[in-house]
Each structure stands twice: as structure tokens, then as C-alpha cells.
């Protein structure tokens, strides 16, 4: 499951950005260090990027760079989210997650009003999975609990959420960084989500509201 790579030269041609912009965005940490993958080729050392991620990121930077300053943009893309606390009302008002998962929150915490960013993130990701129809409600709940108990340890680091199912039994876990997964036969990879992508989405959803 190696992600497809794109060379720096191809990237610049494809997106029409200049070296100056690329290096400036790197300096401002809009593009994470770990996406710069060095490989030796016949012309010497070359830099490659994970194609899908970098193209999506550059699209987003281009889209937002007129409205936000580079430093504000860096805040959007930073892996450790700002200390955001939303109230239940605001979440409902902005339609960030469906009422169904909000109901869990009420059941579990009995009408608590403040929701932190990390708590909201877990709900948001599970909500997205549920909406995609890949998982059942019960599975979603388990994923949510797993996320809630393990994600705080990974705070600030890039990680992936993996959901596997074999013969009706579902297992979910978090992987630090981006590792290649080799799964036994018969097991189905239900979902593999890059968590920082959802952090960005969620931050935008919050700031737009």
C-alpha cells in the first residue's frame, strides 16, 4: 500500500507554483517535513512527495491564501490543534456532526456542554465513517471509545486510523506516522483515515461557522 509519489519537478509543472512558493510554504510549515521524501535517481538526489496528499494540500493553500495570511494558514495545517472548546449548541448549529453521535455524547457525559477539539475530532471522524455507510452504529461507538482513550497519547503527531473486519468482527486502531500495512487474508480493510486531514477539515468547519 505504498502511496503514489510525485517528483518535485512534476509537482511544480502540474500545479504551476514556483520554487519560491514551495520553499516558502515549507518554511512556514504549511507542508510537513515528512512529505519531503528523498530518493536517489540517475540524476542524483531527488525529492518526492506523496502525490495525493501534496496535491490536495497545494489546492487548499491556493484556495485560502488570498483570505488568510501564511501564519494563519500554518495554524490551519498544524497537527496540534488550537485549544478550541465548543459548546454543544454551537456544534448543533454548525452541523459539524450528526445528531446521532451527539446523542452518544449526551449519554456518556450526561448533558455536559463544553466539548474540546480532540473530543469533537473523534466524533467528527466516526460521524464521517458512519455517513459513508462502511460501519455500523455499534462499531462506530467502539471506534469512538478507542479513539478517545488512545488519541491523547498521540497528541501533536501525525497518525492514521485503521479499521479492519474479519468474519464480522471489527477491530480498530491508531498507527503513528504512515506505515505500510500488511493484512492477513480474509480480513477486510474497512477504512484507513489520515487523521491530520480530518483535523484540517474540522478546523475549517469550525472557523467558517
Amino acid at each position: 500500500m505504498e502511496p503514489e509519489l510525485i517528483s518535485k519537478k512534476e509537482l511544480l509543472e502540474l500545479t504551476g507554483i514556483s520554487y519560491g512558493q514551495l520553499y516558502r510554504w515549507k518554511r512556514k510549515k504549511l507542508i510537513p517535513e515528512e512529505w519531503f521524501i528523498r530518493k536517489s535517481t540517475f540524476t542524483g538526489q531527488e525529492t518526492f512527495f506523496p502525490k495525493e496528499k501534496i496535491l490536495a494540500r497545494i489546492e487548499k493553500i491556493k484556495e485560502l491564501k488570498d483570505e488568510l495570511s501564511l501564519d494563519e494558514l500554518a495554524g490551519v495545517f498544524a497537527p496540534n490543534p488550537a485549544a478550541v472548546v465548543l459548546t454543544r449548541e454551537e456544534i448543533v448549529k454548525r452541523h459539524i456532526v450528526s445528531d446521532l453521535v451527539l446523542q452518544w455524547l449526551d449519554d456518556e457525559w450526561g448533558g455536559r456542554q463544553d466539548v474540546s477539539f480532540a473530543e469533537l475530532l473523534s466524533l467528527y471522524i466516526v460521524d464521517r465513517l458512519l455517513r459513508s455507510g462502511e460501519i455500523s452504529i455499534e462499531e462506530g461507538k467502539n471506534i469512538w471509545r478507542m479513539f478517545g482513550s488512545h488519541y491523547p497519547k498521540l497528541q501533536g503527531k501525525s497518525c492514521e486510523l485503521v479499521v479492519l473486519r474479519k468474519m464480522g468482527v471489527t477491530v480498530s486502531f491508531l498507527v503513528e506516522g504512515t506505515a505500510a500495512l500488511h493484512v492477513e487474508e480474509g480480513a477486510k480493510l474497512i477504512a484507513r483515515l489520515h487523521v491530520p486531514t480530518y483535523i484540517e477539515e474540522l478546523k475549517l468547519a469550525i472557523s467558517e461557522g
Partner: protein, 234 residues
């Protein structure tokens, strides 16, 4: 906690901590991390920890065992930092050395600069010689070469490397040349540089250059005395 002044005149040592002004004249040593508004050194100073300050002014010699985080740094003499540097504006006249990375808005160097890791700046001006172990990432880089320099990679928008006139003795023993693996920028002007790869939009390869491969998009100018392996227009 209240910030108080710390003044050492002559020889002395003190512990780190929270200060307003730290003034070391003569020979001073600080044990532990210091957090102050202003650090002034005249003479010889050693900090056995990290420095956090608004302004750092060193006239003489400074040694920092940790990192430096400040708004404004001015060195006349030499400074040696064992870890990372982060500052808004740094001016070094003499010698600057950081084992880790150096991140700043503006860096001005007259003399020598040695950075073990990466260096990033919006604007960087060097008159003298320098070495960067990793990537030198600067929006605007202007180098006036006065001695042998080495950088692993340079990237940015405008990159200008020129040679200042030097004596015959220096030319033989300390050739003012820059060596790099990769240089990439929108506008690249190089003189007396050897590199494996130069990529850019508008590229000027001046006298004394030895480049294995040049890739350009818009324009390429080559000096007659430059040696270039392969050229590709992309």
C-alpha cells in the same frame, strides 16, 4: 516572579532563572537556563543552558550550551550555540556557530557562519564564508563569497552568489568558492560555485562555476568560463 537585573563585572558566576537585564562584563558564567529581556555580554560569557531573551547583544565571545530564542541578536565577535536558534533578526560580525538549526526572519553575516542543521530565513545576506549542513531555505539569499563555503541544499526564490575581490594568497589557500549538492530557485545567479544540480526559472551561471546538470524553464545565461555538464530546458 519579579524580574531583576543581574550584573557581573569582572569574574563571576550566577545561576540561571528569570531576569530583566543580564549584563556580563569581563568573564561571566551562568548555570542553567536563563529567561531575560536583555542579555548583554562584553567580554567572555558562557551559559550552561538555554537562552530566551528579547535582545541578545554580544561583544566578545559567547558560548551557549542549549538553544537560543530571541527577537533580536547582534554579535560582534563570536558566538557558539550547541542547539537550535530561533530569532527575528540576527546580525553576526565575526563568527557564528550553531550545531542545530537556525530559523530567523533576517540573517546578516559579515564573517563566518556555521550551521549544523537546516537554516531558514526570509532574507539572508552573507559577506564572507559559511557552511550549512542541511537545507538553506531563504526567500532572498545574497552571498558575497570571501572564502570556502559549503551547503548541502539551497532553495528559495532569489539566490545570488557572487565573489568579492580577494588577495592572491587567499585565492590559493582559501579559494572563495561555494560547493552545494542542489540549488533550486526562481531566479538563480551563481559565480564560483560547484554544484551537482541547479534548477530554476531564470538561471545565470557565471564565471568559475562547475555544474553537473542545469535545468531551467525560462532563461539561461552561461559565462564562457563556466563548466556545465548537461543542460535541460523543462
Amino acid at each position: 516572579m519579579e524580574r531583576r537585573d543581574l550584573v557581573i563585572a569582572g569574574t563571576g558566576h550566577a545561576s540561571g532563572g528569570l531576569y530583566n537585564l543580564v549584563k556580563l562584563s569581563g568573564n561571566g558564567k551562568l548555570y542553567g537556563d536563563i529567561d531575560c529581556l536583555e542579555l548583554q555580554v562584553q567580554g567572555n560569557a558562557a551559559v550552561e543552558g538555554s537562552v530566551k531573551a528579547n535582545t541578545v547583544h554580544i561583544a566578545g565571545k559567547g558560548n551557549v550550551a542549549g538553544g537560543v530564542e530571541c527577537e533580536w541578536m547582534k554579535v560582534s565577535g563570536s558566538i557558539r550555540i550547541e542547539e537550535n536558534v530561533q530569532c527575528q533578526e540576527a546580525t553576526v560580525r565575526g563568527r557564528g556557530e550553531a550545531k542545530g538549526s537556525w530559523a530567523a526572519e533576517v540573517v546578516r553575516v559579515h564573517g563566518e557562519l556555521n550551521i549544523g542543521g537546516d537554516c531558514s530565513a526570509e532574507r539572508m545576506e552573507v559577506e564572507g564564508h559559511f557552511a550549512v549542513g542541511g537545507l538553506l531555505n531563504a526567500d532572498y539569499l545574497e552571498v558575497k563569497l570571501l572564502g570556502p563555503s559549503r551547503v548541502k541544499e539551497i532553495g528559495g526564490e532569489t539566490i545570488v552568489v557572487k565573489r568579492q575581490g580577494s588577495s592572491l594568497f587567499k585565492k590559493w589557500f582559501f579559494p572563495a568558492e561555494l560547493t552545494a549538492d542542489v540549488i533550486e530557485g526562481d531566479s538563480v545567479h551563481l559565480e564560483h560555485t560547484s554544484a551537482k544540480m541547479v534548477r530554476g526559472n531564470r538561471v545565470v551561471i557565471g564565471p568559475g562555476c562547475e555544474i553537473e546538470r542545469v535545468e531551467y524553464r525560462e532563461k539561461l545565461e552561461c559565462d564562457e568560463e563556466a563548466k556545465i555538464g548537461t543542460i535541460e530546458k523543462g
